[in-house]
């Protein structure tokens, strides 16, 4: 339900993010409706009438304890549920048979994507840098070593439910595993200067064969 709202998800952990989103959406949505309806009902029932006095009451301790403990329990539960997904995205370092690794250096206002080439190693002669064009194989883990040359940028692929700031002076490794071939937009999500709007790359997720032929095109030797 409500699939029309979030952009289509094509990453392995995106489903967990979406489930948490909907869970929080339903909890907060129900709370919101209850609060607003209660308020409107009270406003109608207890509107001013001449010759009537309001109830002289300073509160109700039982009720107050109840509406302290119930929200606290729900919120702590949400915290622990979120933790599991967070750890999966940020703390695990999964691999897959044909895992791809790239280095991405953000700069005003482009993504410099460095591929290790056929030898799979960086700092060798067959490294190749392509701006704003990230090609990855489908259903394989892709590790991205993210850094920046100048200011803070943010690597954001809405369809992967993935966002990570690129910070100058440090390399942050993130991963994703795309489940659907296609071309996905890769905007910068952190204000990075006058060209921030329009700083945009593309992620092309390709089937194993297409990915192989793309590699051949790039490294023809």
């Amino acid at each position: 339900m409500l699939d029309w709202w979030l952009p289509p998800n094509v990453s392995t952990f995106g489903g967990d993010v979406d489930r948490l989103f909907y869970l929080i959406f339903y909890i907060t949505g129900i709370t919101w409706v209850l609060v607003q309806v209660t308020m409107l009902v009270f406003l109608f029932l207890y509107r001013h009438r001449e010759g009537r006095k309001a109830e002289y009451s300073h509160g109700n301790t039982t009720l107050e304890i109840l509406w302290t403990i119930v929200p606290a329990l729900i919120l702590i539960m949400l915290g622990f549920m979120s933790r599991a997904t967070w750890d999966q995205i940020r703390h695990t370092h999964p691999t897959s048979p044909n895992m791809a690794v790239v280095q991405i250096t953000a700069k005003q206002f482009n993504w410099e994507i460095l591929y290790p080439g056929p030898d799979g190693k960086f700092d060798t002669d067959d490294d190749k840098m392509i701006e704003n064009d990230l090609h990855v194989p489908v259903n394989e883990v892709v590790r991205v070593r993210l850094t920046s040359k100048d200011v803070i940028h943010s690597f954001f692929v809405p369809s992967f439910r993935l966002k990570q700031d690129a910070v100058p002076g440090r390399v942050i490794e993130i991963w994703f595993q795309a489940t659907q071939p296609g071309v996905y937009e890769l905007p910068c999500a952190e204000l990075c200067g006058f060209g921030h709007s329009g700083m945009l790359g593309h992620v092309t997720v390709q089937s194993a064969d297409e990915y192989k032929s793309w590699i051949k095109e790039q490294w023809p030797s």
Partner: protein
């Protein structure tokens, strides 16, 4: 616990009445009421500028790179014949947020109502340090002038966002902004001094100068909120001042606090900024909560539900506000384990806000509600704050925040808290205390028109931001049409802009009402709302020294509405009941 005896002597000194000239009465006044009015006028003026900037921004988002009406007079290189370049767009949203936060919401809630209400509501003749109080306003005014001056220097105003993340803000070539960013830093450092003077004054006054019988737990919740807010200001602002001084040094003196090339750390800025910035959020919402509590109780004609829980949840929020700053930094590269701890503390801080909301509902239960203009705005505050509070839970959850961080969902959230929350409470407060501040009543039909138009167009402007935010729409972008995945959402931008323009137009009834009532409104009686708190005991217009020859004595709490002890439905704090009267 009563106020110390020596406070009485201090009061006597203020009580002498003397005629003052125009300059001492209206400009360099040491009277807390005049200083409060000065803060109000300054902030309302700044609100017009901040609002106009928002209109330009909205136009740009709905119809990107088109001609913006009424802006042809703005010269190059800011605007090109009514067309906005991206670097000016960045300056516009940076200055919109900075002005609204530092020069509108804070000066009205803390500067204006803090000043006007604290001595009156606790039964004092003035602030503890009246000259420091005057200085606080004028230093704040200088900060405002410096901030606006940034528009007129070469390179234009600051364009790094109100959060001014380094290194973008630390190296002039990254934004092309030179003195604009420097003035931004200097202005907020100066404003910090103004706030420090104010907060020291508020804390001292509340601790030492309460009228006889005014114990801490007989203080109105507005005073509780302002008291705790002043403590937060006192402790949070020096951190911001230090961070700004470091940023200024990076820009001007060649240091590298935030620049990795020189061994600095960009995330240090974020830690310092948000260590101030999150208490700052509560600085802007706690007084609004206090004001809403007072107004709800007055017009519900019913005691506030769970007074002590309300006071303790203010204190609880204040304590927790120091350990949640990292939730702004989940995606910053900060250690993910740290993210988990900040998530838990953030989930916990939602609890006191939930308590307050339920207690406001409890106050309405079996009440006798009068729908005056201030009451409508206070009810609007509760309804809108609930949305802002609930949407906060989404970003507290670290995995969900991965997706919605830096999107319009965040913009929606901050506006539901600061506009639906703080600004609605500000309007409630202005309509409510206007009779005491200016001695005249405001016009009701214009007030109702202002409320309904604001409520409708406010929601039309900001509610769809949740929807486009969840669609992935980034904040701070100048032209959404540059992104294919945002094309299907563009009609929302058009809708929001039309609502925003109407929201701007909805403020005209308020401006007209304010100015008209200031001069020609019907004269207000001493206690037009039949309220209990001490400011309504003072005469209207309130003289220098506030109360007559003797200060009021307080016999009970501030919320004794519909008490069975008296026939009428209110029982002022200073009224001595004969017979077996009980004090609450």
């Amino acid at each position: 616990m009563t106020s110390p005896a020596h406070a009485k002597e201090a009061h006597a000194a203020h009580a002498e009445h003397h005629e003052l000239g125009f300059v001492r009465t209206y400009l360099f006044s040491t009277d807390h009421k005049m200083i409060g009015r000065q803060f109000l006028f300054m902030a309302l003026f700044m609100m017009i500028i901040g609002g106009a900037l928002a209109m330009m921004m909205r136009w740009e988002l709905a119809w990107p790179e088109s001609e913006i009406p009424l802006t042809h007079w703005i010269p190059e290189p800011y605007m090109f014949d009514g067309h906005m370049p991206p670097e000016f767009y960045n300056a516009v949203f940076t200055m919109h947020a900075t002005i609204m936060i530092f020069f509108v919401v804070m000066p009205i809630l803390v500067g204006c109502f803090g000043n006007f209400l604290i001595p009156l509501m606790i039964g004092a003749r003035d602030m503890a340090f009246p000259v420091l109080n005057m200085l606080s306003f004028w230093v704040g005014a200088v900060a405002g002038v410096i901030m606006l001056a940034a528009f007129f220097v070469p390179g234009g105003a600051a364009a790094g966002g109100w959060t001014s993340y380094a290194p973008l803000s630390a190296v002039p070539t990254y934004t092309g902004v030179t003195w604009g960013q420097n003035l931004w830093c200097i202005s907020i450092i100066v404003l910090g001094m103004s706030s420090l003077m104010g907060s020291i004054n508020y804390i001292t006054t509340i601790i030492n100068m309460r009228a006889p019988g005014m114990t801490y737990f007989r203080m109105p919740l507005t005073i509780w909120a302002l008291f705790i807010t002043a403590i937060l200001l006192l402790l949070a602002l020096p951190v911001l001042t230090a961070a700004l001084a470091m940023l200024l040094m990076d820009r001007l003196a060649g240091t590298s606090f935030f620049l990795p090339a020189g061994g600095g750390e960009p995330l240090l800025w974020q830690h310092l900024f948000w260590f101030f910035g999150h208490p700052e959020v509560y600085i802007m919402i706690l007084p609004a909560m206090g004001i809403a509590s007072d107004i709800l109780s007055v017009f519900a004609r019913k005691p506030i539900f769970g007074y002590r829980a309300m006071a303790f949840s203010i204190i609880g929020i204040a304590f927790l506000s120091w350990i949640v700053w990292g939730h702004h930094m989940f995606q910053s590269g900060m250690n993910p384990t740290l993210g988990t701890s900040f998530m838990i503390s953030t989930m916990v801080i939602a609890v006191p806000s939930a308590i307050k909301t339920f207690n406001w509902l409890g106050t309405l239960y079996r009440a006798n509600i009068r729908f005056t203009v201030p009451m409508l705005f206070a009810l609007g505050f509760v309804a809108m704050f609930v949305i802002g509070g609930l949407s906060g839970i989404f970003m507290a959850s670290t995995p969900v925040d991965i997706f919605i961080h830096d999107t319009y969902f965040i913009v929606a959230h901050i506006h539901y808290v600061l506009f639906g929350g703080s600004i609605f409470a500000i309007f409630a407060a202005i309509y409510y205390w206007f009779p005491k501040m200016f001695g005249r009543m405001m016009n009701n039909p214009l007030g109702y028109l202002h409320f309904w138009a604001t409520l409708i167009f406010y929601n039309g402007t900001f509610f769809p931001m949740h929807i486009i935010g969840v669609g992935g729409h980034m904040r701070r972008i100048y032209n959404p049409m540059q992104y294919e995945f945002l094309h299907p959402l563009q009609h929302w931008n058009v809708f929001m802009t039309i609502c925003a323009l109407c929201l701007g137009a909805s403020q005209f009834p308020f401006v007209i009402n304010f100015i008209y009532s200031l001069f020609w409104g019907p004269k207000a009686e001493r206690n037009p709302w039949h309220a209990n708190t001490l400011e309504w005991v003072a005469e209207t217009p309130t003289p220098h020294g506030n109360f007559g020859p003797t200060l009021p004595t307080v016999y009970r709490g501030p919320y004794e509405y519909s008490s069975p002890e008296v026939e009428e439905d209110y029982l002022p704090q200073d009224r001595l009941l004969s017979g077996p009267a009980r004090a609450h």
